[in-house]
Subunit: 417 residues, 2 copies
Amino acid sequence: MNVSRFGQKIASTSGIGRLMEDLGNAMSQSSNTLMLGGGNPAHIPEVQKYFRDSIEKLLRDGSAFEKAIGNYDPPSGNIEFIEAVAKLLQKEYGWNIKSKNIALTNGSQIAFFILFNIFAGTYKDKTEKKILFPLTPEYIGYCDVGMTDDFFIAQKPVIEHEDEQIFKYHIDFENLKIDKSIGAVCVSRPTNPSGNVLTDHEIDRLSRLASANNIPLIIDNAYGLPFPNIIFTEIKSIWNENIILCLSLSKLGLPSARTGIILANEEIIDMVSKVNAVMSLAPGGMGPVITTDLIKTGQIISLSRNIIRPFYHNKAKISLELAIRELNGIKFHIHKPQGTFFLWLWFPELPITDTRLYENLKQKNVLVVPGNYFFPGLKENWPHKNQCIRVNYSQDSAIFRKGIKIIAEEVKIAYNV
Amino acid sequence: MNVSRFGQKIASTSGIGRLMEDLGNAMSQSSNTLMLGGGNPAHIPEVQKYFRDSIEKLLRDGSAFEKAIGNYDPPSGNIEFIEAVAKLLQKEYGWNIKSKNIALTNGSQIAFFILFNIFAGTYKDKTEKKILFPLTPEYIGYCDVGMTDDFFIAQKPVIEHEDEQIFKYHIDFENLKIDKSIGAVCVSRPTNPSGNVLTDHEIDRLSRLASANNIPLIIDNAYGLPFPNIIFTEIKSIWNENIILCLSLSKLGLPSARTGIILANEEIIDMVSKVNAVMSLAPGGMGPVITTDLIKTGQIISLSRNIIRPFYHNKAKISLELAIRELNGIKFHIHKPQGTFFLWLWFPELPITDTRLYENLKQKNVLVVPGNYFFPGLKENWPHKNQCIRVNYSQDSAIFRKGIKIIAEEVKIAYNV
């Protein structure tokens, strides 16, 4: 089929395409795969009860349900929801946030498509600018989003070994260069895939660097504060006119609603709203409708702090223990799980590639994500890129237990132990 | 703000941006605007009852609701829903449709963003291809979707006057040229804004022309058969491996769910699914969940035929009569309302532009859409482009009655009658 460069580039087999395909197939009822691969959040009963109550309340509230499903929202998204989010953030952090600082998108993924292509790619004067990831590994979903070639640039991290088993990535500020070829800086915090949480110091320094270069700092906060709060360290959340903070309802437990939330200065929000109109007419209304009351009452904060965070923190601890126990006998490192719901396993002496390991595991009905997809923009031939896998521990513990056992067996076979 | 060409192009004030902004503001509770401007469907109680019943059934069905909201669908969309749509179309039309011929998108708008940019724009060999609209006026939402300049090419229609008041557009096949610069042909049927329904003969001829040139024919079927069936003439619906048929749940009454449905050959669907993964991770699941049973049982067909179609057909007749009565005394034509829920009013001797008329009406709290936005790709300086407005008659009849009265008054002031 003869298609445009856009078609060829974006539709060629992508990391995120493989991930979502595997995820979708594994989630379909007929599958008996041990699903440690995707980014699906857990079904936490206490949280789901809120969503059920919310939709039941909506159904009882006269014609509120009919109004909710039957009208387009404006291009920036549901007005009542946006006002509630603005007030929540004012109250929680004292930020000077108004409705005009917020736009919704049909999920966070398209928010990054929009933002990256606004700030990188070809400019009017024909210069090309890139998105800089100051630390890789970074989120797989960014990989194919750029509409021009050579869209990302990224940097290797500094690796700190806490002990034999646990390590942590840091930004290599010594070697971090920002020049006119950079259109924006982006980090996810907590980081998908590693579970890293950049320190307050690192974020402050990035924010200052971005401001000094007059480019925005984009923070992917899909797992962060104040909701869903899947973050196990104490950090400060910051926002200013030069930071674009992206939130989501997905990891709260509503991936099906596709609700992304962008927080930025008015000029950027106005632009995002216009892009929304052109690309999507309007963001969907179901996510906002289900969660507006949760936000208005502030319950979303306590729910996140008291239910969601402890739920995943507990899973993180158990999963880490299990992984360390099962992997005993071979050389491995695990990134300190500070947030998200992934373990990032590093096998520094793995004799096969991560892709081969992924394939071997898939043969045994265990789905993980090979690590090499998580280095968007890192052109350097760094062996580390092929020594890691991402393992989701959000689902049923029994599945994780079986899965990590098989992973350990497979790695041991590869290591010939 | 320094942004890329993509940012500049797509986010500059667009027709669809203005439309959606006005629509959103008018739909917010505080407004007392007479809303004849947007594309919001009516709230039909009998239809909404189905949606309410459906979500109530879901809530009673064990943890079906929790599963529906808590999982990502695969990149091509909800599997059960897609299977149901495939079976429905097989049964209704005898088409050889399988699940692999269907992908969902977050609303129809992004389906056109994806399809247009796959088939037009810059190709690998650096040639530029365009989307051809063989008949304008055509849908406002297409205008700004192209990521390169000079993205569309369009053609003036042949105008047939049925009587003094009623006219109909036809495709000017005599002058229709398809050469290597065309990447795909696109029509909406029924046509938004005019309410035109291309004849079976016209569609057959376009389909043959597209096949002969080895490019797809894209049919925007958002108001068409078999659902929502807002179409008041008897026509044949066709599909083949070279036709991309786009359906939607929006005009059925679910705009908030953002569910678009693309029907095409497997190769195109595979490509759309990959683009979905990259741009959106996955389509939303709420629309499919609310309507899967309606589709499985075939009720969506009877609902469309027996409730939705007569509802709008009746409104079309009443609105047309009202408009003819109110506009009495000035020179006007109205496109024969054969489908959609718009009247397309043409004032051939209008001394002011359509944009000025729109502004004047907005001052009097009546929102319509100025006609000049509905000629994407038509570069010719054709006076007709500034002599028309689109008026939505889907909402409360009292609003239409008041609105058309004010429109007539304003046009008469402009005509100096």
